[in-house]
């Protein structure tokens, strides 16, 4: 402001003498009441920042003693056996990733197809209902999906698991350590597996991913859609050449968001799996363990040092989900959508 006044040229001598007006101050500062309002709002923001941010710092701080005690073995040891002083999260991390990957393998295509169906294929009358259905699906508590997975899905899914191990058992991930072709097959070898837990978790991943994808697909420019139609494209042509390229950011971001949720899911997994602390690629076989289920199952009888170990496991989970989510946020933010509304 002041520099503007300083550099203002002097009036030409021939002109009528008029003292130069000082430039109007564009930002006169805030009134006291507004300053108070800003202060309160800022302190609320601060408080929330401290409250949420402290979780990460707290978990990180609490995991120092464990990491110092166990060192890198904490990441390579598979057993979680406090009595023998053998603690490690190798098997647990593998289990977490397996469940999440199974969930996303199922959830990604279904969410993508459902999102495309809602935006471009569904009859206009039922479009609103489908959007509501996805929102409802996101609102159903995870414990109810756990019940569903355990009591309805599992009796059917073990047949699918057996079929997979019969025909694709030569691939290590579909192998089960039992005879799948036996006349009286061992059903209990197929229950409580990472596969079934992953299927239940996918029910929670689908609505998250689908909601993001649908929101982005809906914003695909109508002009480009109509241009494609005018050039003779079919509906699939429009989707393939306009909607999907436009929504790429939303597809990736929504999937990552759902992956973050799948990695941290607790209740449904805890109901379905039976704990097993081994690294195994055999997702169809009974027994696995995830980080969150480990914490929920073991915190009760944990001593001080075990609690620290659980907190370390939690910190690792925290880091993974935060990284996944931050990537998701960046990807969604960079996509072409999300501009503000103005009159």
């Amino acid at each position: 402001m002041t520099s503007a006044t300083a550099t203002a040229p002097p009036p030409p001598p021939s002109a009528p003498v008029r003292p130069p007006l000082p430039p109007r101050r564009l930002y006169p500062g805030l009134e006291p009441s507004d300053r108070a309002f800003h202060g309160v709002a800022r302190s609320v923001g601060m408080f929330v920042l401290v409250m949420t941010g402290s979780i990460g710092l707290f978990l990180g701080y609490q995991s120092i003693p464990t990491l110092r005690h166990y060192g890198l073995h904490f990441f390579t040891e598979t057993q979680w056996n406090p009595e023998l002083n053998k603690l490690g999260i190798a098997a647990v991390l593998v289990g977490t990733v397996e469940v999440a990957l199974v969930a996303m393998t199922v959830a990604f295509p279904l969410a993508l197809m459902f999102a495309v169906f809602i935006t471009d294929y569904a009859p206009r009358r039922i479009k609103g209902w489908l959007v509501s259905a996805i929102d409802l699906m996101a609102a159903v508590p995870s414990i109810i999906y756990g019940l569903w997975g355990f009591f309805i899905l599992q009796p059917h899914a073990i047949n699918l698991a057996r079929w997979l191990s019969q025909h694709l058992g030569f691939i290590p991930i579909f192998h089960v350590d039992t005879d799948p072709n036996a006349a009286v097959w061992q059903q209990s070898r197929y229950t409580s597996s990472a596969f079934i837990a992953g299927l239940a978790v996918s029910m929670m991943a689908i609505p998250l991913a689908c909601a993001v994808m649908r929101a982005v697909f809906d914003q695909a420019p109508i002009g480009e859609r109509e241009a494609a139609l005018a050039l003779g494209a079919t509906r699939w042509g429009v989707v393939k050449s306009v909607v999907l390229p436009f929504g790429k950011g939303g597809i990736i971001g929504g999937t990552m968001l759902a992956l973050g949720r799948a990695l941290g899911e607790t209740a449904a997994v805890l109901i379905i799996i039976s704990p097993a602390y081994v690294i195994k690629p055999r997702i169809l076989e009974a027994g696995t363990q995830t980080t969150s289920a480990l914490i929920a199952g073991d915190f009760g009888e944990a001593s001080k040092s075990q609690l620290s170990a659980l907190l370390t496991a939690g910190f690792v989970l925290f880091l993974i989900t935060i990284i996944v989510n931050t990537i998701a946020a960046i990807v969604i933010g960079r996509s072409r959508s999300g501009a503000a509304t103005e009159i």
């Binding site: 408080f47 979780i55 414990i143 756990g146 509906r235 805890l270 929920a296 103005e342």
Partner: protein
Amino acid sequence: MTVVSSTTDPGATRRVDRPRKIRVMTFDDWMSLGGSLLSSLALVDIVYEHLLDGSGTVGFLVVWYLTFLTIYGIVVAMSNPRTLVVDRLVTSALYAAAGLVIFALGTTVVYTFAKGIHAVAHVNFFTKTMAGVSPTAPLNQGGIFHAIVGTFVEVGIAIAVSVPLGIGTAVYMAEVGGRFSRLVRTVVEAMTALPEILAGLFVYVTLIVEFGLPKSGIAASAAMSVTMVPIIARAAEVALRVVPGGLREASLALGASRWRTVRKVVLPSARAGLATATILGVARGVGETAVVLITSGASSFLTVNPVGSEMNSLPLYIFTSVKTGEPIAISRAFGAASVLLTIVLLLFVITRILAREKAVRR
């Protein structure tokens, strides 16, 4: 396709611009669809059930669907170009995917209510507690009154804490802004995905282990608030952002202060969105299982006091009952799940109504 030749048409002024119809199914289309469905059903019925050694409804449906896709593709290809064949096949795949998702959601809701009806049919299920009642006692004894009360107390406290904080943060991020707000937004967005178990563990270690607070409703409320605040803040910020900037500018131009603008213009305009954000957070809080599992402790008696003693809640009750493995306890768990699902559905319907009002007012 009928092309109206414009040069020779004398009544050029009356020419109607007819849009190309993209969603129309001709008689031919319907016939090829129905025929393919029927023929694939007949084929699979014979081959799968009688010639091959297949069994099971799921397998039958999968094989039927794949056969249908093949036959439908061939039938459509007989009279249509390749692009149309692809379009038809993709359409049927999309319908199947949508049907599968809706079916899964439908079975979840219907099955929960169907299994819950045995327990819910008894009035004592809503009025009695499980104090002194064995988990294997018949359904006409005991109930989940304590869990319902516990859920309402815990969620009530969590709402009282997290709604002001969440909406305040949203106001800060959307209306006040500044360099610092970007950091707040980044952290809040990252925290919306915080696994609930970690929020529970955080509260367990700080409040219960370090400060010696007993497992109680207030601890559960604190942990719930930690997960609800980011959700409410994020959704509320979106609601505040879609308030048209012109309204704000009009208010400021009339001489209103920023606080008055926020209070009289921005917040009222975004009321529906803010209510939706709140309900989103509440729906999340009501269903949180891992949090209450760690922090509140499962009592079998009625507690109204959130401080000092263990307090049960619906998700925790469901979880502990299912884990017993007793058929009667599982039946009660499904009863509690129906109640929980009803609460979530009610919240959901309220959200929809609010959202619709917003749409009408626009």
